[in-house]
Symmetry: C2
Subunit: 261 residues, 2 copies
């Protein structure tokens, strides 16, 4: 799709690309904008919850490879991200549940149960929180963004094992949050009620993928060091810890709890 | 080739890509480095004259599209460019003549007849001159680099019309320099002896391409504004003028003088 987009573009450097769609569309169009003529401006108009609270904020653009999610990409901030609450009224329940994963993630990082607020207010707070983190580190050089990866290390591995199309990002994040919260309860004494909150709000369901494939994908994570994943956990609600390395056997056991037998 | 490279890479962010080859290889590998994991370090080891004096210096990476040269790319400076004079001893006469185009271009911009020096000294001076220009404007935002396009607007159009593979970059630049110098003699009174210097040193030969295709490619040049190319000309040896717009009929006539009937 990227190659088709590249070939069909006919802009000079004064042109601007407008991306209207979900996270895949804005990530793709943003990457095309990053690389066409070595970079033209772009505007993101995300139409999904995931897009409005996460994908279209922070300047990251990317496409997937068969070997892993977001492996090809660029930092290329949109000149504007348009978040229109009316677009949320066009989404069905599956899409809203898909978006709830990123909202709960952000609430856990903020230390507020924002998932109990009206949807438009959830979106507003999440977009503001992520923007605030990302503008402090626009090209991800200081490590301040690493907390945003909460639930994503396991989530990305499941998506890769599912071949991406079979498992929506938000569902993968819901499962990833469950694993991160379970490890946080065990290692940091995080309030065990949060595990139940996640189960009630996100209703994560174990996914049918090959466990070996998921485990291999975990070792290829962009933040991995020498094949060993670095996790984001929670010391408490609103207190993330980044760069956590745990024994491979324990990480693998948590991963396998997310996979249907 | 880019997609094959992307799929075969297996690096984490601490990895470095080393590109050994001519300008096409270093441009491609540099672009892969720019986009893999949203950017990993790379080292350029150019093995051709064009690579050593031009392609591997300045942080530009790119690939071509069927519709135009270098249309997809990124600014991604190598952490190091290794210029080994011994590699020049491996090149045949065709490759050396190919490289002479960029050397003469640089001499015209510097205002020195560097093409009369020993080859290793030509390369050293050209690499130093281009580095000096590019570090003043690492992401091409101020216009100081525009002079480096001398001879390239016509050259790129001929390459696109030839489908890239049939016409080496250096030969296209030699023809492009001829057109730029002819226009400079007519409009700015540039010393007419320089046209003879170019003919003697570079022996440019009209190329067999479709004139309409070349003309269309000229209008798609990255520096074109609303389909009208912006040229680099010379007021005098060492005094480039950038952003020159001339009547389309005159530009087209000069382009056609470079094309074999």
């Amino acid at each position: 799709v990227l190659e088709r987009l590249w070939r069909s573009l006919s802009l000079d450097r004064a042109g601007t690309i407008v991306a209207l769609g979900g996270g895949t569309a804005t990530d793709l169009a943003g990457f095309a904008a990053a690389t066409y003529l070595r970079g033209v401006p772009w505007i993101a108009v995300p139409t999904t919850v995931v897009g409005q609270v996460d994908a279209a904020i922070g300047g990251k653009t990317a496409i997937d490879l068969p070997t892993g999610k977001n492996l090809i990409g660029a930092f290329h901030w949109p000149v504007m991200t348009v978040i229109d609450p009316l677009l949320l009224d066009t989404l069905d329940d599956i899409e809203l549940l898909n978006g709830a994963g990123e909202i709960v993630k952000t609430g856990l990082l903020m230390g507020e149960r924002i998932w109990e607020l009206p949807l438009h207010e959830q979106v507003r707070r999440c977009a503001a929180f992520k923007s605030g983190i990302c503008v402090r580190d626009p090209h991800e050089r200081t490590g301040v963004r690493a907390q945003l990866n909460l639930g994503h290390t396991f989530g990305h591995a499941l998506e890769a094992a599912a071949g991406y199309t079979a498992l929506p990002h938000g569902r993968a994040v819901a499962l990833g949050l469950l694993a991160a919260v379970r490890l946080s309860i065990r290692h940091y004494g995080l309030d065990a009620a949060i595990e139940h909150d996640i189960e009630r709000t996100l209703r994560p369901e174990p996914v049918r993928v090959d466990p070996d494939r998921a485990w291999e994908a975990l070792g290829r994570d962009k933040k991995a060091v020498a094949g060993s994943p670095r996790l984001v956990l929670l010391e408490a609600l609103g207190r993330p810890v980044t760069g956590v390395e745990l024994p491979a056997s324990e990480v693998r056991a948590e991963l396998e709890r997310l996979i249907a037998k």
